[in-house]
Symmetry: C2
Subunit: 202 residues, 2 copies
Amino acid sequence: MTPGPGAAASDAGLRGVGHVSDLGHALLAAVAREPLTGYALSLQLRDPIGFFWETRHSQIYPELSRLERAGLVTSQAAPGPGPRPKRTYAATEAGLAELRAWIARPSRFGGRHDELLLKVYASWLVEPAVIAALVREARGHHAAQLALYTQREASARERGIDRLGYRDPRFADYLTLRRGVDFERGRLAWCDWVLRDLKSAT
Amino acid sequence: MTPGPGAAASDAGLRGVGHVSDLGHALLAAVAREPLTGYALSLQLRDPIGFFWETRHSQIYPELSRLERAGLVTSQAAPGPGPRPKRTYAATEAGLAELRAWIARPSRFGGRHDELLLKVYASWLVEPAVIAALVREARGHHAAQLALYTQREASARERGIDRLGYRDPRFADYLTLRRGVDFERGRLAWCDWVLRDLKSAT
DNA sequence: ATCTCCATGTAACTCGTTACATGATTTT
DNA sequence: AAAATCATGTAACGAGTTACATGGAGAT
């Protein structure tokens, strides 16, 4: 990674400065609230309450320096407890702008991490209308999935699959399908609840 | 990565033959039901109904050959529509044994893919007691998480955080926390429902 | 004496996505 | 004529995990 002193010219092969990863947005969203060290961030991401995201410190430190090279965060060094100085990161104006733009962009659904939850976590940065649009879009997606799943559930019940023994793979299908129905229903209810609360909580 | 021709002796650097990845178990679980081609598997994994897993064909084909090298599946070649022969894969006895052993092993929670759902999808291969133990373990995990989240929710309400404006980051925390509570509650209800059904459906 | 917490980083590897590449048959 | 479907693979990344490495301060 570090090309060594004297060879600092090219930096080729690194991710383009224009692109910010999902993890980058997660870190940005955290330091937009208050300045934090990489270590503090790793603690927050280890326990995903209100965050729905997880990673290890080995990914956080390189990502923070990428964000700093891109001008989205700044760091202040202070004497640390170990051999290296302790760095506290804070979001810059450009960082906040990037976050606001990212929140407004359409999300991918069903990714391995929960992009919508992460955007809601950072929702205090944007107008409530922006978040409402996002949640309404997600609501549509989950409503469509729910319709599909309930339809399959109904057809499974018509064919008596819910009465098969556990030895039949189609009964296993039915068990997992039920979880899909529950998941989408819960997600839908949450979207509605958020939309209601965004109206009342001015 | 590829050591180049002429150095084919060792195969070092490849994943050890003893270890099967989560994706490997997913493919194994699918071909344990009926023999399938890599293409058919990619269609099933693109639409995660009853599967809760997703990937692309570019990952499936190499993984199938790894499984075959490990003796967990066999393939039969037939003239295909394209330049290459079409291969249909089936699980071997060793493959079924690996699946049964994997289902009985404790699962990781909160991984990027849903290991418990995948195990339930393959649950027809094992005795209902094995699956019941698995689901009971998961139930405990989700009950503990739910207790933690509801406690935080209550303390947030005591401090009036649910009545803050959307501009306060702590209100955003509350929105995502609510989703956590809903998720764990739904998961818990599903575990209970599966446990009930495993008793009745002999 | 040992363990845990704070604090930062690198190396090696596995997992996952996007794009490239080929080509016959069927549908629009 | 063009597009979609079936069918298989590789190359080049990007994302994520595990393990290695260092070292002071405070607690047991």
